[in-house]
Symmetry: C2
DNA sequence: GTTATATCGATACAGTTATATCGATATGCA
DNA sequence: TGCATATCGATATAACTGTATCGATATAAC
């Protein structure tokens, strides 16, 4: 019974469990303690996370691997296909456009756009009509910071509901669109800050 | 007085304040409420975050922009130069290697390595000695998941203390090395999950 | 079949993070 | 010069997240 209340942090971990299970060679059952140990997480935390998506765990044996995977897949929506478009086919854009890892999660970047037309891209003229007729739900912005808001505004005129933004700008969007900002430089800088703190703590023992 | 206790989440926001301030055209003073409004954060939260790095805020006027930037810069260590090496010059690796945004945070990817030698890369033979003599502190892994652990092990034999890992594997590292995993596919899948939840909630009004 | 035990599911507690509130104070304005 | 007020800095509260504990139970071992 009892619907576990969902917390944001769980969403970050469910994909980790899923990826781990997917790559697990054996078909044996898995349990919360096993996952916890393998992924360096708390045993109770893993159990609670799994309880959110499945109630098929059995004492002593845990979960059946394929069943658990199916439950995570279902909860996270990996079985629902999602179409994304990408704007800005520079180095980073190309890397994402070619990346094959999205497929496993039901995601496909179906088309790239840029100012110049190439073998791979369409130009922005056709952007709006393409997104509408193809029912695109996700937009990926990999243009420079000067053009990001402009592209974002254009996306807002289509059916796009989520934007994955790699330009280092805070975008203004209507309420019904959600934005996830990714900033490579600041991410790395945070890692480095942690590193320096750790080094400092070691010195002050 | 009173040293504010630091929380993990602050480290994620300080770079956001910094970037915002850096791009702000005017040299006028900034206050916590102004930053909060501009970045869509809580006013108290911003104030507490800023209190961690600076005590130069004045009632009614807030902080002097350049002074606040300097304090964040100092706290986060952007003025300390950090050298990083990158292994795996595929699409993603190249994109990162060419990216100019790191500079602002004192970070430089000084050398790329790959199996094949090119104009841009060295081969792995010279990896260890290079890292040691150049005092490299940060390693970036952009090889495929099959080779990631191998590269990681090699990094552990040098002075590298932090690893930024883009391969979809959990790396085994000694305690003194910290790892930050970045997984493009799962990140996007989480955004999409949020999107679907939001859509669902709108339907169930 | 009986017993021992690993794991589940649930509840209670602790730690972390975000928000609300309030007095103190530096500035702008009458 | 004195008053009104925006913002700071601090404390208190609430929300979220993670960890510890315990009884219940399905399986394995005897």
């Amino acid at each position: 019974m009892l619907q576990n209340t969902r917390t944001e942090a769980v969403l970050e971990r469910l994909p980790i469990y899923y990826e781990y299970l997917r790559k697990l060679p054996s078909e044996e059952n898995v349990s919360a303690p096993i996952l916890a140990k393998a992924l360096n997480l708390g045993e109770v935390q893993v159990r609670k996370d799994l309880a959110l998506v499945s109630h098929k765990g059995k004492p002593k044996t845990g979960y059946e691997k394929s069943e658990l995977m199916a439950d995570i897949k279902n909860y996270m929506g990996y079985d629902q296909k999602t179409k994304a478009v990408l704007v800005g086919l520079g180095k980073l854009g190309s890397a994402l456009y070619d990346y094959e890892g999205f497929q496993e999660f039901g995601i496909e970047i179906v088309q790239a756009f840029d100012r110049e037309q190439t073998r791979l891209t369409k130009t922005m003229d056709s952007f709006t009509s393409y997104c509408i007729t193809e029912h695109i739900e996700v937009g990926i912005i990999t243009v420079d910071e000067v053009h990001a808001q402009e592209v974002c505004d254009l996306m807002a005129t289509t059916g796009i509901r989520a934007i994955w933004n790699f330009a280092p700008v805070r975008l203004n969007v209507p309420d019904y669109i959600i934005v996830q900002n990714v900033n490579m430089a600041t991410s790395l800088s945070i890692l480095i800050k942690h590193m320096r703190d750790q080094i400092e703590n070691q010195v002050n023992l």
